[in-house]
């Protein structure tokens, strides 16, 4: 839409400024509160100007929530999930777009439908699987009567168990499947001209070779854009890590630790420390977005030829 009238310009600028304010004010409050002392932060009415205690608040938050090791956990989990998502999404989109097998539309739609089933909806069954990842196989063996057969023959009872609770595997694996990613990759792969595939066939490249030599390099910008979104969203995961880790000391993530930073009902209302902690915790995703934003925009809007 190309509309060039002063009234319209004023309107767009007003809307953008408003949007910017809505986004920035919470940040400002976090920064301001994080830099104040306990007295300053408890003042009524609140002062919206930063003070000089940021560093000591950060140190306090860091120590109280044990952010060092938790930061590493979060990094491992978020990177693991991001990596897993990209690998899985690209491979499944590759299969759906470039191979003409009978169930390919069924597969695509089954993946696509899971967009409607976010983790929160399927959290109980997912937890059950995480508690014993081999449970489905056990059920198959049981219903087929193999368990019973083996038991009568050898008096050994087959009990398959693979517990994912309190492990990085458990934190990462259940989050790796991604309909969004598969869909994005599919859309990109469909823009690859047929002639390019045929040229690579004539050059003697196998499908795997084509995937690594042509598709992956061409989808680099898309991959970085996807990685950015995926990293931020998996960094921000709260519910799943909370559910699956009882061993907070070793496997807790920083976002879970936010809870530990919020003042208890009868404790000191030191919101300044809470805010400083929040600041630390949101720093890595902010940095990632800032670093990637060039690719991010390019990958989602256009492709370089």
């Amino acid at each position: 839409m190309i509309e060039r009238s002063p009234v319209f310009n004023i309107f767009t600028y007003a809307a953008m400024t408003l949007g910017l304010l809505v986004v920035l004010v919470p940040f400002w409050i976090v920064i301001v509160a994080g830099s104040q002392s306990l007295q300053e932060v408890s003042r009524v009415p609140i002062v919206l100007w930063p003070s000089s205690h940021l560093w000591e608040n950060i140190q306090a938050a860091w120590a109280r929530a044990d952010l060092g090791p938790k930061m590493i956990n979060s990094l491992i989990v978020a990177s693991g999930v991001t990596f897993g998502k990209i690998v899985l999404a690209s491979i499944s989109a590759f299969a759906i777009v470039f191979f003409d097998f009978r169930a390919r539309m069924v597969c695509f739609w089954m993946i696509f439908i899971t967009l409607m089933l976010p983790l929160e909806v399927r959290i109980v069954p997912t937890y059950a699987i995480a508690a014993n990842a081999l449970l489905p196989f056990q059920v198959v063996l049981d219903t087929l009567g193999i368990t019973g057969l083996v038991q009568t023959l050898s008096s050994v009872r087959i009990g398959l168990e693979w517990n994912l609770l309190n492990s990085y595997t458990g934190l990462i694996l259940p989050l790796v499947a991604t309909a969004t990613g598969t869909f994005l990759y599919r859309q990109f792969f469909m823009t690859i001209p047929d002639e390019l595939i045929e040229a690579s066939k004539m050059d003697g490249a196998s499908p795997v070779r084509f995937f690594f030599d042509v598709l992956l390099p061409l989808s680099r910008t898309n991959m970085l854009a996807l990685a950015t979104i995926m990293f931020v969203s998996s960094w921000n995961q709260y519910l799943w890590p909370l559910l699956i880790t009882t061993d907070r000391t070793n496997y807790g993530t920083v976002v879970m630790q936010l809870k530990a930073l919020i003042p208890t009902q009868n404790g000191t209302p030191d919101w300044n420390v809470t805010m400083a902690g929040a600041l630390i915790i949101m720093l890595p995703p902010l940095l990632i977005v800032a670093l990637m934003q060039r690719w991010f925009v390019r990958g989602l809007i256009t492709r370089d030829k």
Binding site: L196, A199, K201, M202, D203, G204, A205, L218, K305
Partner: protein
């Protein structure tokens, strides 16, 4: 032994047939052009040679070996595509060398080959550029170099120059011709551009809606079209084709009471409905008093410089003649033409095939016969 031989080759998509049985032999070292209107199945035929399209029925053999079940890379063909199909993220050097890399050739040897091929199509200065930084002509040269570097048994081209402007197309045509002369590799070239086909081909395969209409040298195809379709399709302006029938009296009757005295032709074609055809440049303009002159009325003329085209109408049948006269010829003016029987082709209307002057139908693969 033929380099490529088709026997009974058919192509079927689900239920609709697009190639209806092709039997053609292509000799080693030949430059064959497949010519035909859009959608006639040229690309499909080419892609069946390459292995990009399955062969529904029949066999294709390359160097005597049936390739139906072979993967594209095992057939020894290299292909140049219409839209270049270069890998956009690779440099020219990498594009050309990719096939060799896949084949596992050591780097030093590969580089040497790439350089040699790049030199032969004058791409040396551009080796480190990406395809996006090249002009259309340069990109198509990269595509050709990429095909050449593998030293294939067969070159396949699918309308490689249709994205280039007219001048560049002529230049590229000459380049392809020279390459073929120096390498001598069997080549199959698909196009719907007649001039391109005529100038490049050792032999032409003219196709129409999945059938091979005629196979032959360009001059054969031009001077002795094997079917109505070829007669009409090849040549610009198109051949004059007039529908009618021969009578016992030796006259050919057409249009609204038109009569042409062709006693030598009549006998062989008495009992069928036919079209007779003659090239516009073989229609002679004569004086009104000339024996057996055909009287016509001018519709309009087109000046070509050295000559002009006269579009006229004789008893309701349109006729085009190439005329070198300089007198004024306006709409509605009378003109007279004469035809030589030896220049006239007769086509059987029931099947569209040409019938020779002994009354025998001409087959697609027959060579010269008057």
């Amino acid at each position: 032994m033929a380099a490529i031989s088709f026997s009974g080759v058919k192509k079927r998509y689900q239920k609709n047939d697009v190639i209806h049985g092709v039997d053609v032999e292509i000799e080693a070292g030949e430059f064959v052009v497949i010519l035909g209107p859009s959608g006639c199945g040229k690309s499909t035929l080419l892609r069946m040679i390459a292995g990009l399209e399955e062969i529904s029925e029949g066999t294709i053999a390359i160097d005597g070996k049936v390739v139906n079940e072979l993967e594209p890379r095992e057939r020894g063909c290299a292909m140049v595509f219409q839209n270049y199909a270069l890998y956009p993220h690779m440099s020219v050097r990498q594009n050309i060398g990719y096939a060799l890399k896949v084949a596992g050739m050591p780097k030093a040897e590969r580089e040497a080959k790439v350089l040699k091929v790049a030199k032969s199509v004058s791409l040396e200065p551009y080796l480190d550029r990406k395809p996006g930084e090249l002009s259309g002509g340069q990109r198509q040269r990269v595509a050709m170099a990429r095909a050449m570097v593998r030293e294939p048994k067969v070159f396949l081209f699918d309308e490689p120059f249709s994205n280039l402007d007219a001048k560049l197309r002529v230049a590229m045509r000459a380049e392809v011709r020279n390459l073929h002369r120096s390498l001598g590799v069997t080549s199959v070239f698909v196009t719907h551009d007649q001039t391109e086909a005529m100038t490049l081909a050792d032999r032409l395969i003219v196709m129409n809606s999945g059938f091979v209409e005629q196979v032959g040298k360009p001059s054969e195809v031009y001077h002795h079209p094997a079917s109505l379709f070829v007669a009409d399709f090849i040549g610009s302006p198109a051949m004059n084709l007039v529908r009618g029938f021969f009578g016992e009296d030796g006259y050919f009757r057409h249009g609204k009471g038109g009569m042409v005295n062709l006693p030598g032709l009549a006998k062989a074609h008495l009992s069928r409905e036919v079209s007779i055809g003659i090239r516009p440049e073989l229609v002679r303009r004569v004086d009104a008093g000339h024996k057996d002159a055909i009287a016509a009325v001018v519709d309009y003329t087109e000046e070509l410089g050295a000559s002009r085209l006269v579009y006229a109408r004789a008893d309701g049948s349109p006729i085009i003649a190439v005329d070198s006269g300089t007198d004024a010829l306006g709409t509605g003016m009378p003109v007279h033409f004469a035809l030589s029987e030896s220049d006239i082709h007769v086509f059987d209307h029931s099947n569209g095939r040409r019938v020779d002057h002994n009354g025998r139908p001409v087959r697609a693969t027959d060579t010269v016969s008057a």
